[in-house]
Symmetry: C2
Subunit: 206 residues, 2 copies
Amino acid sequence: MGRTSDAEQRLIEEATSLWYSRSYADVGVSEICDAAGVRKGSFYHFFPSKRDLALAVLDRHAQTFRERVVERVAAHEGTAMERLDLVGQIGAEFLAETAEATGTVCGCPVGNLAVELSTIDDTLRRRFDAMFRERIAFLRSLLDAAVAEGSLPAGTDTDLVAESLNAYYEGILAMAKTAGDAGLLRRLAPLAIGLVRAPEAAPVSS
Amino acid sequence: MGRTSDAEQRLIEEATSLWYSRSYADVGVSEICDAAGVRKGSFYHFFPSKRDLALAVLDRHAQTFRERVVERVAAHEGTAMERLDLVGQIGAEFLAETAEATGTVCGCPVGNLAVELSTIDDTLRRRFDAMFRERIAFLRSLLDAAVAEGSLPAGTDTDLVAESLNAYYEGILAMAKTAGDAGLLRRLAPLAIGLVRAPEAAPVSS
């Protein structure tokens, strides 16, 4: 059982890394099995299909986001606005580190798969959407805290702003990948405060 | 020659539409030939490879952007800030129209291909990057005009803001595709003014 579980984990890890650095369609089950040192017959014991492996990879990405972003931000002592700022900083660190490790600027692991697959696999699309909803809810909780602390106007539409922040970060990661520019998030993240304080986000601000 | 040229155009049009609604990897040369009513032997007469067809499709997207966005915005009588606002409105119209026509929210035709292919084909990545550079330069020209009209502070880093706007729009289109939400750009575009007026974009504003 120990070895079996290892094989399953290795398949998830290799798929995570290979899909991130290339694309879902470009890396098939055979290549993932080879990289993980797992026979193809065993693959289908763990995952009935490539899509099932994708769902496991997405679970792993969701867990990584909770550990590296949500928990770290929650543990940060400071104001809600500082914690919000930390989200962009963590993202910028992640992008620079993975670019250093892989030699390529790969963007957002979840965003890449979402853009590639959302119109051709509705099961996966719903999973991507749920993951982004979770991120948006997290951003919204920071914005609500900032409103409660008096750093943002009471009328701020924190749901709308959270959606805009999530879209902004995803767009930057996509453009970083396209430009091969690992520093783009660091350069553009500071402007996110403009979305947070956009007058359109608090039309009835007190 | 007339018929030959028609076949080439049909291949470009079918590839444009099929890749946009699904993905580059999901639609191969055979399917594009079938859709266009062109024999596979003829395909390679026009395009030595699938990538060459992709480059022709990207040329078409660049031309479409110039006609539907750049020229329409340039023709708009009004302030630079109004013309800037029009960019988001045109994008929102495009997203809603294509969703209506295809029954699917497909995001950004160029952004989709850029995210899918940038790390696996450097020739295409450079072409995507050049296309986004052209869009950023266009946005910057509107921002520079707004500075000249006195609507934005003289110290505004218009290049940085233009990059942030392009990333923001791309991110919204990616999230619209993921959520299957044709109205997302209409809802989030108004917050773009926050990026334009972000204090971080004009640190030495007069």
